[in-house]
Amino acid sequence: MKRPKRFGYRQRARLGVSLLMALISLLLVLPLWYVLNNAFKVEKEILRSPLLLLPRSATLDNVANAFKAMKYPQRFLNSTIILALSCALLICLGSLAAFGIAMARSRFLNGVYAVMVATITLPFQLAMVPLIFLLKGLHLLNTYWGTALVYSAWFLPFVIFLYTGFIRTIPRELEEAGRVDGCGLLRSFLAIHLPLLKSVTGTVLILRGVPIWNDLLVPMITLTRSTLSTLPLKLYSFIGAYGASMTHWNLVFGGTFIVSLPILLAFLFLQRYFVRGVVAGAIKG
């Protein structure tokens, strides 16, 4: 196909917008680039010329020091355990409850569902203080399970909302056909519905897993013993220890880099799912 060589008004406008956006995007990731590049500079160079866009020196000292000072492997394990427990609870309890609500068509369960949906927007701070005393009473403070239960209770209403919305789009005939074949409710959930829930489960993992992994507030008030700290909590306490002046820039850069690394890797490999997850959640919401 022959195309006119000169760009029309529209193409030129598009090119302009695209170039402008390229500039803005670069400008906006600049702070992250500073972390990445300063994390590998020698400390002297960081202090002398922090604005340099490419390191003249290269060292792994900052990362290694931060790794050691944070006791990284233990904190990583803590974060992973809490994330895994919370997500397991959210997915199992959430999908079961949503299935029950969607199948029952009962007034009681619809009422329960309405209450759940109404609590989605209530601030966590409203439950926070009595919750801590409750956990203390149940000996769940400073335990992985306690923290995971806090996240589950906080996020289950939203997760149930997502799952219910999805299960309601699955034709009821599927379950009815199963029943004719002698399938109980649980069997039909496991055999028919569960396999269809993969994509919503992905959305749940991204919309709630990422905030759980990144959270500071809940670990700060439920995990006061430092051996149980999660990565963000450790990063906070370990840099807070150096005061507000933040003189140890090398440790700050190294620390923020290694704490962000798992998410960075996940994003590089699963980018499409992240974007899709956010969008799916928003459309339902």
């Binding site: 601030p123 906080w154 990063l235």
Partner: protein, 299 residues
């Protein structure tokens, strides 16, 4: 019921309850019950430790509201909301339109703008502390380009701390809201734009007369989400400034934490949490009403 068999539907409904029960129990015990406790105990002198508590009426609320810090904290929360929600939404929408019009390169911009949103707010706040502090990156930059007069401690100065904090939060959040707007834009049929072009509609007209009315649902979602988000935001302001200098950047959400876990004034924390909950709920309901009405007016 006696010996009469339950109808099949009734039996089904009963067995469905078993599916809901575990989740309901967790939500009730670890979320709803503590919330109800907050509501009730905010009218007592409960300190969390003593087994007995006495009804004190509105005393806690009165004490919290008349505290000299309260005015400032409420002002900060309102200030952040009033700046953050409109600016964030306008910027995110403009970026979304630009990304939408950037063709294939748009995917790259989208990912770049969204990525900060995946990082921990603790990380984000530390990065921006290094930018804003006295010998930080921003001041280095200002000196390098000869704007020495502007050099200052951005987080330690009363006049700059809230704008600086707003900028950081917007930078952090914009990619997320951009994605939602982009999804909205993708639901608008391309034919409408083609038609508009044939009719000779100008770009600005196209944005205000076609795009914005057609993505009204996304605007509603984003406005409500971003308002709740900023009112309850904790991690980022906490790590960035801890509310300082003085109370100059402290928000209601931070203030509840400080009452509860630093000053150990449990009953004040409860009262303030209830105020925060009411505040958030009220604003959400008002917004939903106004925005839904606008949505309907468009259709």
């Amino acid at each position: 019921m006696g010996r009469r068999k339950l109808s099949q539907t009734q039996r089904r409904q009963l067995s469905c309850i078993w599916f809901v029960l575990p989740a309901l129990a967790v939500v009730f015990v670890f979320f709803l019950f503590p919330m109800l406790r907050s509501l009730v105990y905010s009218f007592t002198n409960w300190d969390g430790i003593a087994l007995t508590s006495r009804w004190v009426g509105l005393k806690n609320f009165a004490a919290v509201v008349t505290d000299p810090s309260f005015k400032q904290v409420l002002f900060n929360t309102l200030y952040l909301t009033v700046i953050y929600v409109p600016v964030l939404n306008v910027v995110a929408l403009l970026f979304a339109v630009a990304v939408y019009n950037s063709g294939k390169a748009g995917n790259v911009y989208k990912s770049m703008l969204f990525f900060p949103n995946l990082l921990s707010m603790t990380v984000i706040a530390l990065i921006w502390r290094i930018i804003y502090i006295h010998d930080g990156l921003l001041n280095h930059f200002l000196r390098a380009v000869g704007l020495k007069a502007l050099v200052q401690d951005w987080l330690g100065t009363v006049a700059t701390v809230l704008p600086a904090m707003s900028l950081t939060i917007i930078w952090f959040a914009v990619g997320y809201y951009l994605l939602i707007y982009l999804a909205g834009l993708n639901t608008v049929p391309v034919e409408i734009y083609e038609c508009a072009e044939v009719e000779g509609v100008r770009p600005a007209q196209r944005l205000f007369r076609i795009t914005i009315p057609l993505i009204a649902p996304s605007i509603t979602i984003n406005t409500v989400l971003s308002t709740i988000g900023i009112i309850t935001l904790f991690d980022l302001p906490f790590v960035l400034t801890r509310g300082g200098p003085g109370y100059m950047s402290e928000t209601l959400a931070l203030h509840v934490y400080f009452y509860a876990f630093v000053q150990l004034k449990t009953s004040y924390a409860l009262a303030l949490a209830v105020i925060l909950g009411l505040f958030a709920t009220l604003i959400t309901l008002i917004q939903l009403r106004l925005l839904r009405r606008r949505e309907e007016a468009v259709l």
